[in-house]
Symmetry: C2
Subunit: 261 residues, 2 copies
Amino acid sequence: MRWIKFSAAGRTAYGVVEGERIIEVAGDPFNGYERTTQSHAVRDVKIEVPLIPRTFYCAGLNYTAHVKEHAAKVGGKANIPEKPDIGYRAVNALIAHEEPVIIPRDATEKVQYEGELVAVIGTKAKHLSERDALSCVLGYTIGNDVSERTWQSTDRTLWRGKNTDTFKPMGPWIETAVDLDKLETIVRVNGTVTTRFPTNDMLFGVATYIAAMTRYLTLYPGDVIWMGTDGTSPNLKAGDTVEVEITGIGTLRNPFVAESD
Amino acid sequence: MRWIKFSAAGRTAYGVVEGERIIEVAGDPFNGYERTTQSHAVRDVKIEVPLIPRTFYCAGLNYTAHVKEHAAKVGGKANIPEKPDIGYRAVNALIAHEEPVIIPRDATEKVQYEGELVAVIGTKAKHLSERDALSCVLGYTIGNDVSERTWQSTDRTLWRGKNTDTFKPMGPWIETAVDLDKLETIVRVNGTVTTRFPTNDMLFGVATYIAAMTRYLTLYPGDVIWMGTDGTSPNLKAGDTVEVEITGIGTLRNPFVAESD
């Protein structure tokens, strides 16, 4: 099942994607819904951010190659995380599929993508075992953890390097039927593949993170967990378009533009 | 004006505190309201968390003495922040005035308070000058940034050290008429004053933070900014009660209890 949030004919609603069409629902995937008699062509609607997270979790360093390559680039030591310590991102930065990432005027040239699997929590959960952990997941979407590497390495926090407005594209929809081990993440810049990795080749998988997190914290419907990325990104510039595809889920596409004066 | 969120007679609503009574309103302080004919004694209601933040910002290190004393305690160098880089906390951890902070079974003895001023954003804001920055603030409440110092210093992120469920008491209400320079923060453990400092004696004040933040990000109604704390805390244990008073705003009181088996 594929959940989409969209705007059409002056209103915003959730719907279920079936082929090229959207069956509009009354309600939402978290609190209950009913199918309506309204339907729309996917190509005719404005796709919205699939949800505004209650808490926006992010695994950060979660693939070995990414940690090592990043360390090599900045000349530091590769600190492979030894346990699943979750981090955070901020909702102000979210934008939808096809909306532009705006590069601030004073950003350096080191603006990069990170294509990530995103787990969307559907039910309240605490003290889940690793075996039961995925029971609280509604489905999966795609995130692009856009990063300004200079700010990321020099600021005391990730507020500006990671959470500048428009730096967190998420979408295009939430897919509930996912076999994690079969997924592949493919990132393209202007149509050329620049990064490709098995999505589930993580240091700590979704179930491991959820089990660790829910020892201390309650997950709520509408929380999201961004699962980190592998490999490295070229520097991006205004005019580029980045597509993050995760096979079996979809493709998240966003143009990059310069901040206007 | 003093905004309170409360439950009484089976429902939850916002109200305005006038003396010892609450005038219930229809609506809320962010989207508009009307006074109703209902009123309640403050002592008769359950006080709720004043709001669930859209984004939960936290300044972290923002008072010179706190940075130096913390560094001395852990044997490190005092890194005084050179600019206002904002951080984040998580909404799962919020609890209301009088609700218990639950100390996890495996926490070390280093569970400590941090009494903080909290700015509550009332209107959408971007690119505010420092002079205009406070125009987006609805009012102020009080936060206790409860911290498990061992986890804080050994985990890769602050997820468990700062954001374990119940570690973020906030309240008891939002005061809109505040003269920042006149405030004093007074923390008591079991009735004895343990920390006392001029609230506005910050490295970077509320206006400075808001001006810096809104250069890169949009603030939204219902965002909160916790402004950091001064001094140090004794270790807290089950059975203790912590009161964070900020003169002119109110007193946030929470008992500490042990996690049950």
